[in-house]
């Protein structure tokens, strides 16, 4: 346990030093603030549930940005240290490989969580500071949006490690990571949409669609946030999906957790088998 914290501490220290923490926090905060104030334009000032609108726009932002940031900081974690030659020295110390991996995971997740909390928190804070009234229900929805964003980040950090511990050089890891991002964030949904249009509801039943949605962590995240509260789903136009879906919020959260744990386990296995 102590070794994990030592490695995590070093990752955070490095993240602070090479400005990763600063850059991601500023990026998320800037985009969140922009969306908060520009995003309220279509609803005008009569919208009493301003934070619910913000949740819809921020979760769309998260789907694009958080996986990208997570893959950027994680794809290099193993293969990069191996290429630079720092891994051999680290592993000659009394520390197990799984401890190194888990320590990095904790460290990278802490960086991501900090950036998300501060960045999105700034948006909500700004909204509250400008005198908008926000009820407790909206706050709960906002908090679960931030929490699930961090969980989505965890899933993609784990996927990034998986890539990083399997490939031979950093360039390959970067290429595969970009491919994974494109697949999950853009291509998968388009493909799914195309499939539904072509199929016209003949073979793809509701349960098959649910299963297909669970196979993509960004879809799991989207469903969780855009259907979890009645107000939000009304704003996001997902109310119809929410009513017919078998996927309850606990199931979706569990699916996201599985998306983090399975790749992390695979990464640990691949890393422990790797010859140095």
């Amino acid at each position: 346990m102590r070794n994990i914290l030592i490695v995590a501490g070093k990752e955070i220290q490095e993240g602070l030093r090479n400005r990763w923490v600063l850059a991601t926090t500023l990026l998320l905060a800037a985009l969140a603030l922009t969306l908060t104030f520009l995003g309220s334009a279509p609803t005008g000032n009569v919208g009493v549930r301003a934070l619910d609108v913000v949740i819809v726009s921020l979760s769309s932002l998260t789907i694009f940005l958080v996986p990208l940031i997570a893959l950027l900081i994680s794809h290099d974690a193993i293969v990069g240290e191996m290429e630079r030659g720092t891994m051999v020295l680290l592993l000659s110390y009394p520390v197990a490989r799984w401890q190194v991996l888990l320590g990095k995971f904790v460290g990278h997740l802490a960086i991501l969580a900090f950036a998300t909390l501060v960045g999105y928190g700034a948006a909500a804070g700004a909204l509250a500071a400008t005198g908008t009234t926000i009820d407790s229900q909206s706050w709960v929805a906002f908090a679960s949006m931030v929490g699930s964003s961090i969980l989505l980040g965890a899933a993609f950090v784990a996927v990034g490690y998986c890539v990083s511990s399997l490939v031979r050089d950093r360039g390959t890891a970067a290429g595969i990571s970009i491919g994974i991002w494109l697949l999950f964030v853009l291509i998968y949904d388009m493909g799914l949409l195309g499939l539904l249009v072509v199929d016209q509801g003949r073979t793809v039943s509701g349960s098959i669609l649910s299963a297909l949605l669970l196979l993509n962590p960004t879809d799991v995240y989207r469903l969780f946030n855009l259907t979890s509260s009645g107000n939000v789903s009304a704003f996001s136009g997902m109310a119809g999906v929410a009513q017919t879906s078998h996927l309850t919020p606990p199931v979706l959260l569990a699916a996201l957790a599985v998306w983090a744990l399975v790749p992390l386990t695979l990464a640990a296995v691949a890393f422990s088998r790797r010859e140095l």
């Binding site: 030659g85 720092t86 051999v88 009394p94 197990a96």
Partner: protein
């Protein structure tokens, strides 16, 4: 004498390549051992095996009584390793880097300052490692290897990038640790440098151990001739050959110098004759075979029968 490292019939294959073949040796405490060989002779593979970074394909290894690859960490805490071309994360300072490694070895932060002082990095301790020169990185590498009073030091090409003064202080540190009972294994190309420092030499070639022993033992086995240089008064150069006969293998270096390659059995006899009264000899230089020559000899003698 306590044995710290035991290597028993170890073979390591990477795919079809046998990086190390049937190598056995033991390392006692309080000794400096030089591990010598070409690039690709299996030196680094042996070090990684001892560290438990890779597992042997066959045979077994004990380091401080433990299997290093078994995931037990008691031994690793008492082991210092300096990899070839050591590198560190360039964003952190020297002190931060050393503090990180100290925490992993459960060393208090009080040990850092004296260690940095010892390797001559105190003035640069709070600068980023990215700004360090090659020699400074090497010194930081040495500092981390010295954390926690190691009982075994595995040093891969330790003096590359160090200037002569630092090299000297590096060997002083090594000698001090050895005096306290540490096993020091130096892998190097710089043979002349190791010659005076290593009590024992292990020569590797293409994964095989071809020689193992103290420098004197190896000289005896190799039976390489000692080179004797005689400076002769200009007038005596003509008849020196007849006076000293039989000379064996000899050559004339210049107008007043002869070089004789003398076998160990005729060396003393030859010197006696050369320094006899009224001889024309003005000066004598005796050079035993160097580690370089021994190394070349053992590589050749292994290659002939194959």
């Amino acid at each position: 004498m306590t044995v710290t490292v035991e290597i028993h019939d170890v073979t390591k294959r990477f795919g079809h390549v046998e990086a190390v073949r049937d190598v056995s040796f033991t390392l006692p405490e309080g000794e400096t051992i030089a591990l010598v060989g070409h690039n690709g002779a299996g030196k680094t593979t042996l070090l990684k095996l001892m560290l438990g970074l890779i597992r042997p394909s066959r045979g077994n290894i004990r380091v401080l009584g433990e299997d290093p690859a078994a995931g037990e960490f008691a031994a690793r805490r008492r082991l210092g390793y300096l990899p070839e071309n050591v590198s560190f994360n360039s964003a952190l300072t020297g002190r931060e880097t050393l503090a990180f490694y100290a925490r992993l070895k459960r060393e208090g932060s009080g040990a850092l300052a004296p260690l940095l002082e010892r390797v001559g990095l105190s003035h640069a301790a709070d600068r980023r490692v990215g700004t360090y020169s090659k020699g400074m990185r090497q010194r930081l590498g040495l500092a981390q290897a010295l954390l926690g009073a190691p009982r075994i030091l595995l040093l891969d090409e330790p003096t590359t990038g160090l200037d002569p003064a630092l090299r000297q202080s590096f060997y002083e540190i090594i000698e001090e640790l050895r005096g306290h009972g540490a096993t020091v294994l130096l892998s190097s190309h710089a043979l002349t440098e190791l010659e005076e420092r290593a009590g024992r030499v292990v020569i590797m070639n293409r994964g095989l151990k071809v020689a193992d022993g103290s420098l004197d033992e190896l000289r005896r086995i190799a039976q390489l001739p000692t080179r004797i240089r005689l400076k002769v008064a200009a007038s005596g150069i003509a008849d020196v050959q007849s006076r000293l006969a039989p000379l064996g293998d000899w050559r004339r270096v210049n107008g007043h110098m002869l070089e004789i390659a003398a076998g160990s059995d005729q060396k003393i006899e030859l010197l006696r004759r050369a320094t006899a009264e009224s001889g024309p000899i003005e000066d004598v230089d005796v050079a035993p075979p160097t580690l370089d020559e021994l190394y070349a000899h053992f590589l050749r003698s292994q290659e002939v029968p194959r």
